[in-house]
């Protein structure tokens, strides 16, 4: 009996010995990493992107807007790891700063949309009656607009720029969240402890905040993660079309618009790297979101 256990086995054994209810956040995180390798990989991508976005000033080797006309459309080299664009700007630095824009737009849209959706969804389910009926009718109409079409219509009205893009992407996301959370909240409303809370004479606010909202947290978090990826993708599409974030703000979609096609054959790195950044980030959020869903909502597994 002298089989040496690898460190990960020891860790697994330690983690498994702790009863479910007494696990610390770190232990839960370790269990998540072990059971969801793909999700962990997604999380790593997300963390890398977040670190790049938050610490852009310290990480980026050059300024994202500094032109250096002596090194236009230079291929990747030691001085410029990912090469330079047609204005001699360092691509790596622009991608790192672009992460910040993507992060701001992605999280702003996702948080506002899912909180808004939660208020509408849970409120609609809790109060029911006419309010529920009318609200659902309105949300159904908004749902009839495909995301990018609605976003473009909103941009047509309010114009371009970071703030307007956030509004444009948030609006179509709200009903998508409200619908899912309403159906979760509806089933919770019928549970005896809600009746008990009502019988105790608790007010609407206390019942909603203390009894209903915590119970829709699982779908809420899953949707929130999915929305970040969707919002980043939508922002990139809008910026690519010239209807999103505007120069000189560094944004991935914008980098692909500015001449990526013209230089496709002579300087393919201009087209490849920003797109790769978008794809990897959204991919990371999707993998992490899927794993989160499996971990939080066992009923939805294998779907």
């Amino acid at each position: 009996m002298t089989i040496a256990a690898s460190p990960s086995d020891v860790l697994t054994a330690v983690v498994d010995d702790v009863p479910e209810g007494h696990r610390s956040l770190l232990q839960r995180a370790l269990i998540f990493c072990r059971r969801q390798p793909l999700g962990t990989f997604g999380l790593v991508l997300v963390v890398v992107m977040a670190v790049a976005g938050l610490g852009a000033e310290w990480i980026a080797p050059y300024s994202p807007t500094a032109n250096d006309f002596s090194v236009m459309t230079e291929p990747p080299s030691w001085a410029h790891w990912l090469g330079t664009d047609q204005f001699g700007r360092d691509l790596l630095s622009r991608i790192i700063y672009g992460a910040r824009t993507a992060l701001i737009v992605g999280f702003s849209c996702a948080i506002i949309a899912s909180v808004g959706g939660m208020v509408l969804g849970v409120g609609s389910a809790y109060f029911g009656g006419r309010l529920d009926l009318y609200l659902q009718a309105v949300l159904d109409v908004v749902m009839a607009f495909p995301l990018i079409i609605m976003a473009l219509a909103v941009v047509a009205i309010f114009g371009t720029g970071v703030h307007n893009v956030i509004v444009a992407i948030t609006i179509p996301l709200i009903p998508r969240c409200a619908r899912v959370l309403r159906s979760s909240a509806l089933s919770i409303r019928e549970v005896p402890y809600i009746d008990a809370a009502r019988a105790c004479g608790f007010g609407h606010r206390r019942i909603i905040l203390r009894h209903m909202v915590p119970n829709v947290m699982a779908p809420f978090l899953i949707l929130l993660t999915a929305f970040v990826g969707q919002a980043i993708l939508a922002e990139a599409s809008l910026s690519y079309l010239g209807l999103g974030v505007q120069e000189p703000v560094p944004a991935w979609g914008l980098m692909l618009q500015g001449g990526a096609e013209e230089y496709a054959s002579t300087a393919p790195w201009i087209a490849i790297f920003p797109g790769l950044a978008i794809a990897l980030t959204v991919f990371g959020f999707s993998l992490f979101g899927d794993a989160l869903r499996d971990a939080l909502d066992p009923k939805m597994r294998d779907r």
Partner: protein, 323 residues
């Protein structure tokens, strides 16, 4: 059955009227006067008479309710007014660009199903094996990849490969020729955007096929079929796939949304003059009549597609009527 059909069709009316009201409202949310914004956007000067003419042209001088009735009635007659940018009838401009978008849509749906259904089935049959992981990764990657980037990469690949094979770089044609006039030229233009949009759309279908297949494979009648000694091919094709594909039908509605979103960007990449490009141009040019008509058109197509899908589903699966 008839009651369900009638009910489902009647449900379209309030949705479309609601959508029309929303589009109508949105276009009146534009800060300031549409005509002043539009006339002033060029930087030139304009007088009050020009604004008044513009108002009369757009019908903005009549009461709001009448404007709305006019808008809805015009939509039913196929009269969307005149474009504020080109001055031509909106319906005319849309009709000219419709065929190319429709063709790409149809091709994309075909391509997406050719990719998605076999891969989704294999993924379910080999659940949790390496091949399943590979297919699921392909599927999630499809959702994560922006279609315009995929388009740019495709152009890059076409250029490089044609350069290597023929010695001169070749680009797909950008002007539309109907398929019955020059099928080869038509297909060599439409296949690339269709591939781009089709791959992205296939990601959704693949996931759905996989999960539906997994569910069906656990059913009792599959065990019975196995117990009877049927060969695996017959079980999969005749017993499992037939039933698993039922819920996949409902996806066509979601695919429609994906296709429209995909077309808006993909037509831009491939320089094709379709509906998606027209939409982007009308937003860029502040052509509000055109934007309004296109949004309404897209929503109408989307709502009608979903209605037809629901009806087909009810026809395929009799249980649905009782719910």
């Amino acid at each position: 059955m008839y009651r369900y059909i009638v009910k489902r069709i009647l449900l379209v009316i309030p949705t479309l009227v609601g959508a029309a009201a929303l589009v109508f409202l949105l276009m009146r949310l534009i800060p300031g006067d549409i005509c002043v914004v539009r006339l002033g956007s060029g930087g030139g000067t304009f007088d009050a008479r020009a604004v008044a003419t513009c108002h009369a042209q757009l019908g903005l001088d009549s009461p709001v309710f009448l404007q709305f009735v006019d808008f809805v009635w015009g939509f039913f007659r196929g009269d969307f007014g005149t474009s504020m940018w080109s001055g031509k009838p909106v319906a005319h401009e849309i009709a000219a660009r419709f065929p190319i978008s429709l063709e790409i849509c149809i091709m994309a749906v075909v391509i997406s199903n050719i990719i998605a259904i076999p891969l989704g089935t294999i993924s379910a049959l080999k659940q949790d094996r390496p091949i399943d992981f590979v297919i699921r990764t392909i599927s999630i990657a499809g959702l994560a990849t922006p279609s315009f980037w995929l388009g740019i990469l495709l152009i890059l690949a076409i250029l490089d490969i044609s350069q290597a094979v023929f010695g001169t770089p070749w680009m797909p044609p950008i002007d539309y020729v109907p398929i019955w006039q020059d099928p080869l030229r038509n297909l060599s233009m439409a296949i690339w955007p269709a591939l781009t949009v089709g791959y992205r759309t296939s990601a959704v279908t693949m996931r759905m096929t996989r999960s539906a297949m997994l569910e069906v494979l656990r059913e009792d009648y599959i065990r019975t079929a196995r117990a009877k000694g049927l060969i695996e091919k017959v079980i999969v094709n005749r017993h499992a796939l037939k039933n698993a594909l039922l819920p996949v039908v409902t996806l066509i509605g979601i695919e429609a949304a994906f296709l429209m979103g995909g077309l808006v960007v993909t037509e831009q990449v491939f320089n094709l003059n379709g509906i998606g490009r027209l939409f982007v141009q009308s937003v860029q040019n502040q052509d509000y009549t055109m934007t309004q008509a296109l949004v309404m058109l897209v929503v109408a197509v989307f709502v009608l597609t979903n209605t037809v899908v629901d009806l087909i589903y009810a026809w395929l699966d009799p249980r649905i009527r009782y719910t």
